[in-house]
């Protein structure tokens, strides 16, 4: 169920995100980073061999440093004259968008074909999601939301209930916080009110979800209602808006971060509750019974999650 929803969201995002990114000069059909010192350009029609193969016709720079040209060492053009590969002397910093300008390529000699090469944006978005989910899991690597984490991870059912409720509330409240931050706090220089506004929005979301759920689906409310109160005592819910304000995330990035944070919390709760259900049957020394052994287990999970650090998918 969750998987299908997730996939749909990703597809919608793909559709929204891509058209804005593929705009380029008409002559350029596609462009991407190849090896770590290579840019590959695909043309929409066959181009002039002479112009395309001459490195002097190319000007390439990183977007923030327009004055520092990257030296193109060699250009190799495919036999069908439809694509070219630019080799650079030094590895490219692919986290920055690169601007490429090609002179004398189009029939009109005045026109310089200019386009930007960047990593696919969707990969970046998924990177944020995976990072919040695993690499920077809020519970096991950022150590937030522990009170609620230890309180509700005794049973699998509780864990699932809490995790789902939390994910819904955090996505809604983070998106609202983003709007408030971008359109009220930032323009009016009210950044010092961040804490009050964000916690207020969280309370509002919790209250709204509570009321709506009670009216629309009483069964669901009976199942998840109790966790709503606990959501507000969870630091993650206030940490996410603070992080997105700090990093100046845009709307999609905000959505991904909050989804990752919620999903990560659900994952952590589920893993932990599975272990704790078994621990109850085990013979634990009396001094370690209850919370202390839960802490030790959480520490082992945290060690395991340390292994995700440095992972780079996109």
């Amino acid at each position: 169920m969750k998987n299908i929803m997730l996939r749909q969201i990703i597809i919608i995002l793909l559709l929204c995100g891509l058209p804005g990114l593929t705009q380029a000069a008409d002559l350029i059909a596609d462009k991407s980073f190849g090896d770590d010192n290579e840019i590959i350009v695909t043309f929409s029609q066959a181009v002039d061999m002479e112009a395309a193969i001459n490195p002097a016709n190319y000007t390439v720079y990183e977007e923030p440093d327009p004055d520092i040209r990257l030296s193109v060492e060699a250009v190799s053009v495919a036999d069908d004259l439809m694509s070219a590969s630019l080799r650079f002397r030094e590895p490219l910093n692919t986290s920055q968008p690169h601007v490429v300008a090609i002179a004398n390529l189009s029939p009109d000699p005045e026109v310089v074909t200019t386009f930007t090469v960047a990593k696919p944006y969707i990969g970046y978005l998924l990177g944020i999601l995976v990072s919040a989910l695993l690499i920077n899991n809020f519970v096991f690597t950022k150590y937030l939301g522990l009170c609620v984490f230890f309180g509700t991870s005794k049973r699998k059912d509780t864990a699932k209930g809490m995790g789902f409720t939390f994910t819904i509330v955090i996505v809604v409240s983070a998106i609202m916080s983003w709007f408030f931050y971008q359109f009220i706090l930032k323009p009016f220089d009210l950044n010092f009110l961040q804490i009050v506004i964000f916690i207020g929005l969280v309370s509002l979301t919790v209250q709204a979800v509570d009321t709506i759920l009670r009216k629309v689906n009483p069964d669901l409310f009976n199942a998840f209602g109790v966790y709503l109160v606990l959501v507000i005592a969870n630091c993650v819910i206030i940490a996410v808006p603070l992080i997105l304000a700090d990093n100046e995330y845009n709307f999609f990035e905000t959505f991904m971060l909050s989804l990752g944070a919620g999903g990560g919390f659900l994952l952590a709760l589920y893993l932990m509750s599975s272990v704790r259900e078994r621990i109850e049957l085990a013979n634990v020394p009396p001094t370690f019974k209850g919370v202390p052994i839960a802490f030790i287990v959480a520490g082992q999970f945290a060690l395991a999650f340390l292994g995700f650090s440095g992972m780079q998918l996109f």
């Binding site: 950022k142 802490f295 520490g299």
Partner: protein, 205 residues
């Protein structure tokens, strides 16, 4: 309804019987996250003490004016206000320490311990009792943080408050973030052990 406990009892209650970290198991995030040194513990402890005392007193002063139906929003607003104040103060006057604590100062706003004390104590008791209770809870939190920081700094870096004590680094592991879980868990187990022994000797006597 006034509490029959004296000021001293209110303070020791916060530090020992109802220690927020080891007894009530609340506000665990900073206890694991930034308790790598004693200094961090003291700094965050001071911030929590400030917020707890000022919020308790504020609520206690206005307890008769607060409408029961908007009790929780008022608490949240009060805490958020004082957190903002301490956040601004620390950022302005102690930028280095503030940088180390990072996001945790702002997160005091979501600490269950503060809301809980307002709900259970400050909204019923006199201003004076609330003040001392706030001090006790704040100190309890601070001592908890310092104790964890003490173990982690000494075993992880061989220093205390930045001064070289052991002259070598025993186990880097204790400075890593995830070790916070182990240290807190082991310390809780230790306190449980002490309690069990204590009860046994009492029964025996």
């Amino acid at each position: 309804m006034a509490t029959d406990k004296s000021n001293i009892q209110l303070i020791t209650n916060g530090i020992l019987n109802e220690n927020p970290i080891f007894r009530l198991v609340l506000s665990m995030c900073p206890a694991v996250g930034i308790s790598t040194t004693v200094m961090n513990g003291i700094m965050l402890g001071v911030a929590v003490l400030f917020v707890q005392v000022f919020s308790s007193v504020t609520i206690s002063i206005f307890k008769n004016v607060i409408h029961p139906r908007i009790r929780i929003p008022t608490y949240t607003l009060t805490i958020a206000t004082w957190v903002t104040v301490i956040d601004l103060l620390l950022a302005a006057y102690l930028p280095e320490a503030y940088g180390k604590m990072g996001i945790f100062v702002k997160l005091i706003v979501a600490f269950a311990i503060i809301t809980m004390r307002l709900e259970m104590f400050a909204c019923k008791e006199s201003v004076q009792a609330s003040f001392w209770d706030g001090i006790g809870m704040g100190l309890g939190f601070m001592f908890g943080m310092m104790a964890i920081g003490f173990v982690r700094e000494l075993l992880g870096m061989g220093t205390l408050l930045g001064y070289d004590i052991l002259g070598f680094q025993p186990l880097l592991f204790f400075v890593l973030h995830c070790a916070g879980f182990f240290v807190v868990g082991l310390m809780m187990a230790f306190f449980n052990y002490v309690e069990i022994i204590y009860k046994k000797t009492k029964q025996g006597a």
